[in-house]
């Protein structure tokens, strides 16, 4: 799957499953991009997406970006 391909997600769980698959395949930057898009878009209030995004950024050594991820306002 390419990041510029159109895709439909039934819910945040689909995004997380796909991101995890990308990670396991060694496509960490692609997984991060996918999670960033989801966290900035229609799933911006989902805690799980942000948790996975943070973990993926940490795994990529993008420490400042990982630290910058916050809980959605609704969850805090």
């Amino acid at each position: 799957m390419r990041n510029d391909e159109p895709r439909e997600f039934r819910g945040p769980a689909d995004v997380r499953v796909r991101a995890r698959t990308l990670c396991e395949a060694g496509w960490l930057p692609e997984a991060i991009s996918l999670l960033e898009q989801a966290a900035a878009g229609e799933f911006q209030n989902d805690v799980g997406i942000r948790l996975d995004l943070t973990k993926a950024l940490l795994a990529a050594g993008r420490i400042e970006e990982a630290e910058a991820v916050r809980l959605p306002e609704r969850a805090t």
Binding site: G61, R70, L71
Partner: protein
Amino acid sequence: MIVLGIHMGHDATVAVIADGVVRSVIEKERRARVKHAAIAGIADIDLALADAGIDLGAVDAVAVTTTQNWPFLFTDPASFRFEYAPELGGPLGGPDFMRDRWRRFVPAMAAAAAEGRQRLVQFRGFPDTAPLFDGATDPSDPAAEVLFTQQFPFTPTGWAGTGNPETIIEQAAKLYGDRNWREMLNGPFQVPITCTIRGRTLPGAVIPHHLAHAATAFYQSDAERAVIVTFDGGFQSTQYGYAGGIHAVGEGDALYPLWFNHSHAGNLYRRVSDACGLPGIGGPGKLMGLAPYGTPRFHDDTYVGTIQQVAARHPAEPGRIVDLIYESAWPYVRHAVSAARDEVAAVPSADPLSPWSRDLAASVQASFELMALDLAHTAARLAGTLGIDSDTLCLSGGCALNCPANSRIWREAPFGRVFVPPACDDSGLAVGAAFYVAHTLFGDRRVPQGADMGGLAYVGRRIGEDEVRRALGVVGPDLLVEDRIDAPARAAGDVAAGRVIGWVEGRSEIGPRALGHRSVVADPRDPGNLERVNRVKSRERWRPLAPAALAERVDDWFDGGPPSSPHMLFTHHVRGDRLPAVTHVDGSARVQTVDTSCGGFRELIEAFDRLTDVPVVMNTSLNGRGEPIVEEPQDAIALFRRGGLDALYLEGRRITRKAG
């Protein structure tokens, strides 16, 4: 008195204690063949009672524990369940002043049951805990019942405190100084229950997690008086209660928890294991083996201390997700990442063999050891304020599996003896809970356990001769079975000739270490055996393997650790260079001292000594990658069939493959 101990969390276990003696311990993982399997059920209870030769009708009380913050799940409530029983009288009900508290506790926990189910469902969905739930354990099954719980639902005022060791000691002196603290601390921690097993109702109690850890250590230590420290991978949570570790003392038949110790050493170690690419429950054990490959360049004293001390120096930001993921360990990881940003960025994902991971492992090991030492010193001072002076320190909880830290405590802390029980991790909780109920609550007299002997561990599943015959009856024509042999002598000959063997005898060991009853054995003199045995077990090449040595000869071959290490829970320094296959890169080894209670395994080493003049063999657990230690004869034969081992010794028989 007969007590049934049931640990319901991960590493689920059922134990039967009769008149102060451990009669049987069944670890669910061994039966279900799922490593660290969670949620004990009726099958484990049935097996434990049958193995102990005790009828359910003879059981006097039930003692229950769980992993911190794990609700109780009853997958077959018609066969096994329990409910809180605030009206229960007698020793299990605790002192009268607790009644009103239990009455408030029960509806609160009932109201939280739905949340508990959701939490268990989440655990089943997390990649690191999902494998613990075997096929029969589904928390989302509407037929399964859930009971919520809290660790230490009620504790004396002040325990939650600041976490500063000086303050703990001051506050303890103030709280206990003028009171009868023995009476005050006996009975208010357990939650009374009534337990229904196969239609029979039994009285019981839920024992807090760390109290059960402390009991496992104290009651198996044989010490008349002991200072006790428990610590594990838990952390503090305002929602679910405390879960880091406790300071306690034992005296005579009674155990007294004194204060939370506010340790975050275990959480730090666990989370750093994740960061180094060694995730899951087994990660910290691997990190311990990785640490000697690195240098502790990220160690910094400001990250050493209790959870409150470290949090005060390195505060979390509200809403920051990394603090949720790493909890109290985040500042340490961040510090290590910041100090070597380029190195971390150069590696696409966490890799345990990267220089950064190796040095982070070495750093966190150094920090962990200092925190463990601090806990031992604080516990000694705390006990001293109560007039409890003991030469014995008992360590328990998953952190007590850290062998280098245990040896350092033995060398540097103010105790002549450091005792760590063989199942110091959660697999020992059922034993500890049962002991606590029998001795502290009911005042049943303790009996000697054989604390410094290997036999303490051999209380797992008993193999019947009929089971062995049944398993051997279906081995097929490809295998050769030889019986009526001198098995220890033949095995020693095989090992001396360079063969790698499996060795199965008697009751299985409890706890995570194989101690010669379910072991892979090889020649420690051959440097190639490290790689070979790691390959046979599909283990990482860099992980060390351990020696088992005749107890009375250990000083000739090792130093720097206690003279008795029957459960492979201390690190020694290897003298000389004759044991390359079991000597780690820093010259250390995790020694098992093998005494006369170890049965045929000791005879094997004696025979190997006669052949080679070396009273040491390599000993590692008999299991494949990601599997629990084998339990039953058919498990061992199945493992042998998969290849790698040259011979399997099964209850005195030698099994090999037929040529051609």
